[in-house]
């Protein structure tokens, strides 16, 4: 039996780590789908109908799995973190309720039309549905990140005691909900979603282009995959550099508002100036290899790099070390390595984007087999980067569930028993492994089936074939 506090934390980690995959897919696909729908209606070219219908299927599966796993999170605050919910409900419940009404409803209702209703509505209403779905997915992120950013940098509240329990009282909604952290999180998350989907599209497309052009195997619809590759590359060239640029601003904001998290990102124990940006670091004593909070580190890094990052250009700047805080440090190694993986991937994606763009410009985009292999290998790395990025954000702020207000261990439900918590944790681990396997299986099948083609396309003839009236092929 696992202690209910630890089991609840692990369960929340598992359920969020799995859930975030699906919103990334749906939020990232959303702008592409609006574009495909717009071009399909404007140009009536079959390629855009193929693109729209192919990616809508993947969007729909992602949305369903995202609904199922997202509902769990909304209930989990109450089931496992009842003390947190009671303390913070006044500030935290509102954004969640608003997300449901403003965003999720918009997305879920218009998705019905977007997936099933092509033959039942006018072009204009159909296009409007694609916009409504996209807007819904992004508005969801707005409200969830408003809630999350408040936990990172709480403002606009005061503490009161009600019924013997400490409760957060909302005093200034503008300060609380228009939180300075929100803008960094929103930009970084939404751009990451589009970038991740662009990498996924590029990787899948590269596989078929590679088979067709490099190996010379017969591939159905090579032009479909070529166009997909090009669209994905355009998105990648735009998003990859932006991700690193606002990531830099975001890191500076973390340094200013959550110095303990920043120190964990840099594994800095003693307050110091001219702090290097370690590229790698290891415990000096190998016996401490598996202690995430080991203090004697040996590393290779850029002199003054971390100071430069924290201050926005001054390599001499002083950074507070973890020893200067009263609370226990977060598991530093997890935060440190997650941060490095994320940043490393961010730079790799830029390289990939410009490599692809250069090959396109030089006219041999379809022939560079090394590029194709790199894209295939990177197809899921965008999602990996999002995961490690969230690990930096959420593990890095430990022990706080609300920064400097409430510790995570104090937020867990009082009456929860070890047996209950362990049972549901085991259930989620098993269930979510199966769920991920099932999702991967379905998405793989959809990709293998390829885009709809021929008589199946409505743009191919005036009389729509009966079988294409449904969204399912």
């Amino acid at each position: 039996m696992i202690d209910p506090v630890l089991a609840s934390r692990l369960q929340f980690a598992v359920t969020t780590i799995v859930h975030i995959v699906f919103p990334v897919m749906s939020m990232g696909l959303a702008p592409f789908l609006v574009y495909f729908t717009y071009k399909e209606i404007r140009t009536a070219k079959p390629i855009y109908e193929q693109l729209r219908r192919f990616w809508v299927r993947i969007f729909a599966v992602s949305f369903v799995v995202g609904t199922v796993t997202g509902l769990v999170l909304e209930f989990e605050f109450g089931t496992n973190f009842a003390a947190f919910s009671t303390t913070a409900g006044e500030l935290f419940g509102g954004p969640l309720a608003t997300e449901g009404m403003m965003a999720f409803m918009l997305e879920a209702t218009f998705l019905g039309i977007f997936v099933f209703g092509r033959e039942r509505v006018s072009d204009a209403l159909y296009f409007l549905s694609s916009v409504a779905v996209a807007l819904g997915t992004w508005l969801s992120a707005v409200w969830i990140l408003i809630a999350n950013s408040w936990m990172q940098t709480p403002r606009g509240y005061e503490i009161a005691v009600e019924g013997g329990q400490q409760v957060v009282k909302l005093t200034d909604p503008m300060a609380a909900y228009f939180n300075p952290r929100f803008q960094y999180m929103f930009l970084h998350m939404q751009n990451a979603a589009v970038e991740s989907v662009a990498l996924f599209m590029a990787g899948v497309a590269a596989y078929y282009v590679f088979r067709h052009h490099v190996w010379g195997y017969p591939v159905e619809h090579p032009e479909f995959w070529q166009t997909t590759l090009k669209i994905a590359l355009v998105a990648l060239v735009v998003t990859a550099p932006l991700q690193v640029l606002h990531g830099d601003l975001y890191a500076r904001h973390v340094y200013e508002t959550q110095p303990q998290k920043f120190a964990a990102m840099e594994a800095l124990w003693e307050t110091d100036s001219y702090v290097p940006e370690y590229i790698v670091a290891f415990p000096a004593d190998l016996n401490q290899l598996f202690d995430p909070r080991t203090k004697e580190l040996f590393g290779i890094g850029i002199p003054g790099g971390a100071s430069w990052l924290a201050s926005g250009g001054d390599p001499q700047a002083t950074i507070r070390g973890l020893e200067s805080f009263d609370t226990e440090a977060p598991p530093v190694a997890i935060v440190f390595w997650s941060f490095r993986i994320m940043v490393g991937l961010g730079f790799w994606f830029i390289l990939l984007a410009f490599w692809g763009a250069y090959r396109w410009w030089s006219g041999d985009l379809y022939e560079d087999d090394l590029l194709h292999k790199a894209l295939m290998g990177s197809s899921l790395l965008g999602i990996v980067a999002v995961e490690v990025g969230w690990i930096v954000t959420e593990v890095g702020r430990q022990p706080w569930v609300i920064q400097d207000v409430m510790q995570t261990s104090d937020g867990v439900s009082q009456g929860l028993t070890s047996a209950e918590a362990t049972f549901t944790l085991a259930g989620f681990v098993t269930g979510y492994v199966l769920l991920l396997a099932l999702y991967s299986y379905v998405v793989t099948r959809l990709i293998r089936a390829g885009p709809p083609a021929g008589d199946d396309l409505r743009s191919a003839s005036d009389e729509p074939a009966p079988s294409e009236v449904s969204a399912d092929e």
Binding site: A82, G112, V115, L416, L438, V442
Partner: protein, 334 residues
């Protein structure tokens, strides 16, 4: 910030906001039960079909709707959290395993149709079909048990009252699903569904009476509330609407039958709300006026809900009008 100051000092327009939010919560839950109810009912009726084509038709009927319908439950959770945070925390942690059972059942119901359509082979479809039926039957059962346990303030998640209430809600969803199939299908599928709907309606009536008897027997402090004239009137209304449903289905007036189901759901939800009031969580003794969130966030949420809920209802009006009328033959999946 004088506007914020005034929002913090008194309820918006002097309205009785705690009571309004208590009612709104039950309205949201009722809307969920009515709309997703027909999805559950159709999922249960799926078990009575052997013909692959008919199974496809059933899935196609709920295809565009179920996800939007389920969001009403999301909004219910969010609204409970926002309006009565301590109740959300106490209730959900008290019925810990029940909540996760509901989530698992809902997950199965959501995934199953999507998976069913992925492959054509018989074995795959048979088992995802089972999963769909189990998820569709279990969800309303567990939700009914949850609401009844909440109502009587039970400390345990397994109670006779909860089980009876769960069965009543299952019967109600079949009644609901049969009426919706009356609107969306034709021929023998509709006739069979109607027959099941009538049976379920009679069972529902019996189960409601049995549930009320169980509440009466096991929760003595609720006896005065059960004898309240409004409660008696709601029971009478339920009897009348059930009879009306049966007559409407027999005469193939499916819109009337569907409207009667809406009335039945409203009656059930109102019954629970009236018996529960003035408490919002009997187990902890929290009343509506004690459990309500502070004035400032309450006013903000009221503004949000007043603006957004009519807009949300308009989305549903668009969705249901786009997919109104019987399913076209070629609109079945596959």
């Amino acid at each position: 910030m004088s506007s914020v100051a005034s929002l913090a000092s008194a309820p918006l327009f002097g309205l009785p906001l705690p009571e309004l939010w208590f009612a709104l919560l039950f309205f949201i839950f009722g809307t969920f039960l009515f709309l997703d109810g027909f999805d559950f009912g159709i999922g249960i009726l799926f078990a009575t079909r052997d013909d692959p084509h008919e199974e496809e038709v059933l899935l196609s009927v709920i295809g565009p709707f179920w996800d939007g319908n389920e969001v009403w439950l999301v909004v219910f959770g969010g609204a409970l959290f926002a309006a009565f945070p301590a109740v959300y925390a106490n209730l959900f942690s008290r019925y810990y395993l029940l909540m996760f059972a509901i989530l698992a059942a809902l997950g199965l119901r959501g995934l199953a149709p999507e998976m069913y359509e992925e492959r054509e082979d018989e074995l795959w479809r048979r088992y995802w079909g089972y999963a769909f039926v189990v998820g569709s039957a279990l969800t309303p059962f567990l939700l009914g048990a949850f609401v009844l346990n909440w109502l009587v303030g039970s400390a345990s998640i397994i109670t006779l009252t909860g089980a009876l209430g769960g069965l009543a809600v299952v019967a109600l969803t079949v009644v609901d699903g049969a009426a919706f199939l009356g609107l969306k299908t034709r021929g023998s599928l509709r006739d069979d569904a109607s027959a099941f709907g009538v049976m379920a309606a009679v069972s529902y009536l019996g189960l409601v009476v049995a549930t009320l008897a169980a509440v009466y027997a096991t929760a003595p402090d609720l006896r005065p509330a059960l004898a309240h004239p409004v409660v008696v009137a709601l029971v009478v209304l339920t009897v009348v609407l059930t009879a009306g449903y049966v007559v409407a289905v027999r005469r193939q007036r499916y819109y009337v039958a569907f409207a009667a189901v809406a009335g039945l759901v409203a009656g059930l939800v109102a019954l629970v709300a009236v018996v529960m009031f003035p408490h919002v969580d009997r187990a902890t003794g929290i009343t509506v006026s004690e459990g309500i969130v502070s004035t400032l966030p309450l006013n903000l949420m009221t503004i949000m809900a007043a603006v957004l809920l009519p807009v949300v209802l308009s989305y549903f009006a668009v969705l249901y009008s786009v997919f109104s009328g019987p399913l076209d033959e070629e609109e079945a999946y596959g």
